[in-house]
Symmetry: C2
Subunit: 158 residues, 2 copies
DNA sequence: GCCAATCTATACTTATTAGTCAAGATTACT
DNA sequence: AGTAATCTTGACTAATAAGTATAGATTGGC
């Protein structure tokens, strides 16, 4: 039960684009440098985000990426789904072949209902959060960090 | 954000052992057949569970696996941690190198705090549930399924 | 002591995910 | 039209997870 690299970096790239504001344009080199991933990898991730309808791309000179929709309409849960799939996709139950002819788990079981409970808990967080929330949160934290005195503004927080 | 095979089958094997009751003994062939995985794979998973202190093994004839502790003292969250690690292990932030010299994300960021919120939500479910809960739930569901009329007791539920 | 049933350990193969590379297509500007 | 900056695509390699195989060690019963 781990976050995939796609989910982590994909969301970061989206937040970065959100930073650029509505209509703000960023190129792959810009995004990749800002997020510390290779341009090729950023391109691969951005393609997923584009196909998911979260960003749009413009080719050619002056091209780049932009949010496809206002930040408040981008639900993080949907982004994560596109980047990394659902927690529980029932691939296990499908292939599970228990000892008894009628597997008591083929319809439902405690393990399965536990996963469902976990999925509900996760969705509860991710279906509420929008990109706008993340951006606001980020700005709050940045101003807060910048307000801390010290060599680089961070020392005292570690 | 997917369940790993280890988590899925590991938990299933543990539930299967719980079924066998306190002191109940099951061999690898028994468990593997009941759970529909190969004996070799079951062995691999059971070793993880053993090292995690959830089950104990006896070698030789009459050997097999048993719960190492009472079912109500086995917290599912701990089992999942051992089988699959934590959702967010901060491997990303560690290697992340943003554009600015002082990465505003090196201490905290909205993405990171989002993952923390998700982790809290997951823990909220998994740190409460014990193996005993799963076993009781299973028995309830089994009796319920068996009570449904039909060719194999399952038809009407699909 | 011997044998069969059992777990143990390590190495191996396969599948999936992560990440890179190179050639092609599009666009703005001159 | 030409050129440079940009995204697009698909194939490639590397790393990790999933799953298998094989030889070894332990135990109980005869």
């Amino acid at each position: 039960m781990k976050l995939s690299a796609n989910e982590e970096y994909g969301l970061r790239c989206l937040v970065r684009l959100g930073y650029a504001g509505e209509g703000g344009n960023l190129t792959i080199p810009e995004i990749s440098q800002a997020e510390g991933v290779s341009p090729a990898y950023a391109a691969k991730i951005l393609r997923v985000l584009r196909k998911g309808g979260f960003v749009k791309a413009a080719r050619g000179k002056e091209g780049g990426y932009t949010l496809a929709r206002p930040a408040e309409s981008i639900v993080i849960g949907e982004v994560i789904d596109v980047l990394g799939g659902r927690l529980f996709e029932s691939k296990f139950c499908d292939s599970h072949a228990g000892q008894v002819a009628i597997c008591t788990r083929s319809v439902d079981c405690s393990v399965r209902s536990l996963w469902r409970a976990v999925q509900v808990a996760v969705d509860h967080v991710l279906s509420k959060a929008t990109l706008r929330d993340l951006l606001q949160n980020e700005e709050e934290m940045n101003s807060w960090v910048r307000a801390i005195p010290g060599p680089n503004g961070l020392r005292l927080l570690q």
